[in-house]
Each structure stands twice: as C-alpha cells, then as structure tokens.
Amino acid sequence: MMKTNQENNEVIMKLDRRAFIKSAAASSAIATAAAIFPGISFAEWKKQEGASGMITWKKAPCRFCGTGCGVLIGVSGDRAVAVKGDPNCSVNKGLCCVKGYHSVQALYGKDRLTKAKVRRNGEMVEVPIKEALDIIAAKMKDTMAKHGKDSVAMYGSGQWTIPDGYVASKLFKGCLGTNNLEANARLCMSSAVTGFMTSFGIDEPMGCYEDIDYANVFVTWGNNMAEMHPVLFSRMLANRKRRNNVEIIDFATRTTRTSQAADRSILFRPQTDLAVANAICYEIIHNNWVNWDFLNTHVSFHKGKTDIGYGTEDHFAFTDKEEPINFEEYKKFLEDYTPEKVEKISGVSARDIKYMASLYGDPTKKVTSFWCMGMNQHTRGTWIQNLVYNIHLLTGKISTPGNSPFSLTGQPSACGTVREVGTLTHALPHGGVANEHDREMAAKIWDVPVSNIDPKPTYHTVEMFRALDRGDIKFMWIQVTNPMVTMPNLNRYRQGALKDDRFIVVSEVYPTPTTDVADVILPAAMWVEQEGMFGNSERRTQHFAQIVPPPGEAMSDTWQLIEVARRLGFEKQFPWSEEEHIGKIWEEYRRFHEGPKHNMAPYTVLLERPGVMWPFVDGKETRWRFNPKHDPACTNGKDFDFYGKADNKAWIWARPYEPAAESPDAEYNFWLNTGRVIEHFHTGSMTRRVPVLHQAMPSSYVELNPEDAAGLGVINGEMVKIISRRGSVTMPASINGRGVPPRGMVFVPFFDESYLINEVTLDAFCPISKQPDYKKCAVRLEKA
C-alpha cells in the first residue's frame, strides 16, 4: 500500500531524528574518549562529518554550574547535536562533567514551552506572544496606578545572562522607580558578597582557578566539590597526582564523594564551623604562625553586633555596627575558642583543629580554601566568610598564586549578572541605591531623571515573597528560576502566590511548579538559543552567540523585557534593534565599570575568546587582585593594596559562634541538611529532561546514617516521612549511598519536584546577607 505524503514525511522525520540521536551518541563517546585519552583521533568520524558537512562547532560557556567550563557545541542544521570541552578555555582545558557532556539535550525535551499562555477562567490557554506581552504591560501599569510602584516586582536569577539582568535593572530601578528587583542568587551567594564587602570592601574572589595549580593544601569548607564543581575537583586531583606535595582536607558535616577522595575527612556539627575557624585563628596566634609583616601593614581589626537574630519574622530588620578593635582585643576574644573548648562545641577533636591550623600556619605551604553553599546558606553566612578570611589574613596567605580564600558559585552567572550588574534590591550596576553618586551615575547612563532611582532598598528575596503573601506586592514577574521548588518554608509562599488578587508572570523553558502558579507563561529561549554573556566564579565574562533558533515563539528574557519596557513607554531607554541589542547593551553596561578596579573587556574581545577576566586593563586580564605584580589598580607602592576599604586594609573581624536558628530537640530530633547531586542542576527542570541524567538519578531520596536507619527499622528504599514544624515529605531512604550523614542528621537533594523538601525547611536567614540557611533545621522521622 502506498504511503500518504504525511506518512512519508513522518518516516523521514523519524529517520532524521534517529540519525541525529545516533550522531549525538557518537559525538558523546568521542568527547568522552578525548577527555580520558588525550590526543586520541577518530579520522573515520571526521571524514563522515566532513563529507556530510553535518557538524560545525561553536563556543559557549556551559550553563549547568558556576565554574564556567568552555564548551564547543556541535551544530547540524538548526540543531545542537553534540558537546565537547573547549581545549582553548583555561577553565576546563577540554574537560566537561556529565552535565556538560549532555547539556544540549536539555534543549529538546518534548514538553518544551513554545507558546505563550494566559490564565482565563482558571485554565491556561495559548495566545500569541505579543498578546501576552500586551497583557503583562497593561497589568503592570494598572497595578502601579492602583497600588503604587512598589506593588510590582521582578524575581530573576543567576542564570540570567548579563544583558537579561541589565535590562531588568534598568527597567525596574531606572524607569519604573522601584527597587523590587531580586534574583535567586540571594539564595545561593549573597553571604559571599557580604563576606567580601565586610572583609575587603569589594566583591568577588581575589584569586583565580590557576590557584589550583600552585596550592599545596586544599581545604573544602562544607563544599562537596566532587559533585558540585567536578571539573575543578578533577583539576585538584590531577595536581595531587602530578605533584607529591598536595593534600586535600574535606571539612564537612556529612561524608560525601569529596570526603572519600580527600586525604583527610573531618566532620563538624552543623553551625560550629564558626567556632572551629576561630579556634584555628587562636592556634595560629598561640603558636606564633602569624605573618607579622603582612598583618602589621595590611590588616585592621573590627567587631560588630552579636546575638543578631535569624529573620524568621516578617519585617525583620538588622543593621550591623562596626567598631574598631586592636590586635590584643582580638587575641582576647579568641580565648573562648581554644581547640579544647571548641572540641566540645563542634565534635572536632582538638588534635584535628590543631592539624588544620598547622597547615594554614606552615609558611612553606600554599593554602587554598574552597567553599560554596555550606558557608553561604548559613544563618551566620557573613560571619563564617569573615572568619575564613581571618585565617588567610593572619598568615598572609592571600592574593598570591596558590594562596587563596575562594568562594565558588553555583550558577553560571551569579557573579556576572547578579553581583556585577547588581540585580538585588539594594544594588545598582555600580554600587548601591543608597549612594547618591551611584544613583547619579546610573541616571546619567540610563538617561532617566536621578529622582527616578529610589534611594531606599525594598525587599530581599524572602521578604519579597512574604510581601507577595501579605499583599504588599500584587504583581511578580519571574524569569529563569523556579521558586515554587526552591523557597524555604515553601507552603507559605506557594499559598501567597496563589491568592486571588496576585498576578504572576513566569518566563520559562519547561513546565514547573512555578509555571503552575502563573497567570501568564512566556516561552523563553534557553542558553545558546540567544546571544548573551555569563560571568563565572573567577571574574571571567564569557560570551556566547545565538547558535540555534529557539522553538516556536520562545523569546530571550532580554527581549521580553525590552518588549514590555517599550509598551510601558520607555522606547528611549530601550532603543536597540533585535540584531544588535546584545552588543549595544554590553557597551552601555561596561560604562558602569570603567577604571582599573573593574574594567570589563570590550564586546569585540569577548566575541573572540572563551572568556575574559576582569579587571581587564590595557588588554590584560587580572589574575590576582590586590597584588601589584598582577593588579594595575594597586597604587600604594607596597607589596599588597587592599584598595576596597577606605583604610586600604583588609579587615579581620571578631565574630563569635552563635547557634543555628533551629536545632534538634526532644520533639524534632534530627538535623535536616539539603543540597544537590552531580547529575542534576538545581531543581532538575532541565537536567531531568536529559534521559541519561534522569536515568542515572531518577528521583530524590533521604540519606540516613545506617545506625539511625536500623533504629527506625528502615532498609534501603523504604519510605521515610520527614516532618518539621512547617511541613512533611515522604520519600525513599538511601543508606550507605553516595553520601552518609552522621548520626542525628538526614540529607535530601532538592532537585525532584515530586518531593518538595522545601516544604519542610525553615526561612531563617543571615541578618547581614539575608541569605536563607537550607542546611539546618530540625525534623523528626517516621517509617512510612
């Protein structure tokens, strides 16, 4: 029987699709072989590629963590079909992790959002995207007219490209005049920012990944790098193998793959890293391992308020008050933190504390400290950053190759977009809204009256969602993030978003629990379906071109914002053509950072390279800031210049140990710790659409200590109910899996929307950074 044309087309499409999948399978194998066997060659495959003209390779940064690995994306026709590490990118030198190698498959999930949807009579109905954009602009106008400018809000992301965040800031802060602009990076790295600002007066790491090639000792502070930053961890392991003077110390609250690979695994009780860091400083001073030349020239001593609260109540406010102290006062403060006293608080033996101090104190060893969420998601997140900096400052181990306190980020542009563009309520692309000079600069560059920019910050993320619940905010536009999975104490914030007179817009690539609460869904372009830039953990800005077209009516977040801005009457501030807008936006944004402390590379330079580190001065990247051998911003004529602070010094802070907001008690007798796994990026909304990743890690679980599991009568895979004062989740047990918590703690990865663990967590935060603590709350367990 003859086939119809339609049937013939379907056969051809299926064949094309299978050929595409097989090509991706072969490319994946070749990329893996190249990573394992450097120099391996497959001439047969190259001939096939060349003969068919099938694949061209284009550069981009990976979008599945904050490392910023350079990837080359193989494109066949209009489709991305393969990925390999970019050998020209200094970050990863051709290596990728499992997420990177499979990253392009995340573009092609079957349920990709391709059309705009609007809620009508309770149902989501498809509409042309222009109509959806009209509705959004009209709703914003109407809401501001009725309830004031601070009734509308935008919630973005560390996965926003730099232009996305920049136009959001310009629209909300410059044009609409509200500081209701936040990003999910508040949940992942704002303690890192306040740590840098309080200790150095300027944000982002002073070192770079090259530190890994020089350090003799690596201390991972609550940081499971083997799973969260696997390419950097591989680089550490490669250094340990190549050089015979490298050791890795994993300092954590549970045993992980990082602990297993480390030379030493030291476990501490949750929150007591504060006490241990102080004990290390005590020991350094007690043994006279202080680098006095460095200390006397480059460091000043300070203290702040104590007993500072946890922010669990609405409208919580806190402002720290700095007071200068001297070295003797600091030394006296540390007397409460002898190793023997801290052993009782932390569970870390005095011997181990002394051992860690001896590594930092040994003048012949170069030490790099790495951290990420363990120190950032902490109700004393700012303090613990200060305390680790204290260790490096006492010993002078900073701003030189291999000596590096290094805060890693989890998202591809948490640094580039949120920290550098300043997409947080208090910030501007340069400085903060409270500073008159910064407002004047922004108004000039944005071509808006300076009076438009409100000098008062409004809501940080947790308080913004509380305001939505209370009704102070009526309209919220959410882009590139999934807060209905990630907000702590989630039940409250989901109920708030669902209230009748709230209007929620969500720009997304796939359906998520956040699109479930939306009144309008905009289909978004993802990653290399648009042009943009990310900024990684080592101050590296990475450009990517639009490599493949977005599906259907999907549109970049940048262009969605521009379309709405124009509908709101701001054509003058958003004049760019669709073809040129990214380059034009970049050159406008770059004006905010002119000068040797933060100069960014021109657009034309970004196009050519796999990434450029700032400050980029006279055509050169700056690898180690505050060091005049590397940093042209140093002007004091000394061997270091900590120019971020007015006294040109780095600040040592006396910060005490204070307990967590909620600790286990008789009723809720376990710590709950939450986090990530190597296979999935954050809430899994993209990586769970990649079959290989999904099959490798199909669902979440609760890690139990084997003795606790035995006490509960639970075996591997049986269901356990985790109950807190806020909610409960029932999920399968994992016993002696890839991670093992100590007795009295459970760990749950948050990637799986079927098990919303954040219905259980607590919305307590660091009063200085306002970053929530996802690592500590009290729960009890029941066998389900």
């Binding site: 399978a25 194998a29 391996i40 999930g109 990649v690 079959p691 199909p698 669902s699």
Partner: protein, 88 residues
C-alpha cells in the same frame, strides 16, 4: 527503540578481532580510533527485547575487555515521574 554509545576496550592483542566481531553484529556501528586501541560502538536496536539480546551477545565476545556507556536513549523508557515526556 534504544540507542546507546560505548567506549569499548579490547583484550590485549585482540583489536582486529574486536573490529571484525562488532562489525558482524546486527544493530552495531563502530568508529575505531586511529592511534589507540579503543573502539566507539553505537548500537541502534528496534526494541527492548532486541537490545537485551544484543547486550547478551556483546558480553559473549572473547575479544572484548570492557565497555563503558557514554550515551543512552530509549523512546520506550522515558522518565515517568517528572511531568511531560522527554526527547533527546
């Protein structure tokens, strides 16, 4: 309709035999490396039952030292818990 790719390592001195044996198997395509004793194998079977049989035949190859999967796709076995279907 599963598609998989593997890095295949032969037993010592058996690379030529491995090429021949893999080439002779149905549903298999190979890409040999030029300068290492490594073969990339891409399998494309019509259904799970055929895939299972092929896996068994691969295990029986005397020339084969080890196989490491680098890619996997199966239309019939798409993830079920997450909303929506998946397509590579």
């Amino acid at each position: 309709m599963p598609i998989f790719s593997y890095l295949v390592i032969p037993k010592a001195g058996a690379i030529d035999t491995l090429h021949a044996e893999l080439t002779a198997l149905p549903w298999c395509e190979i890409i040999p490396a030029d300068n290492k004793e490594i073969v990339i194998l891409v399998t494309d079977t019509p259904d799970a039952a055929t895939e299972k049989k092929l896996q068994e035949r691969l295990k029986e190859l005397d020339s084969l030292q080890s196989m490491s999967m680098t890619f996997g796709h199966n239309d019939e076995d798409q993830p079920g818990k997450q909303r929506g279907d998946y397509e590579a």
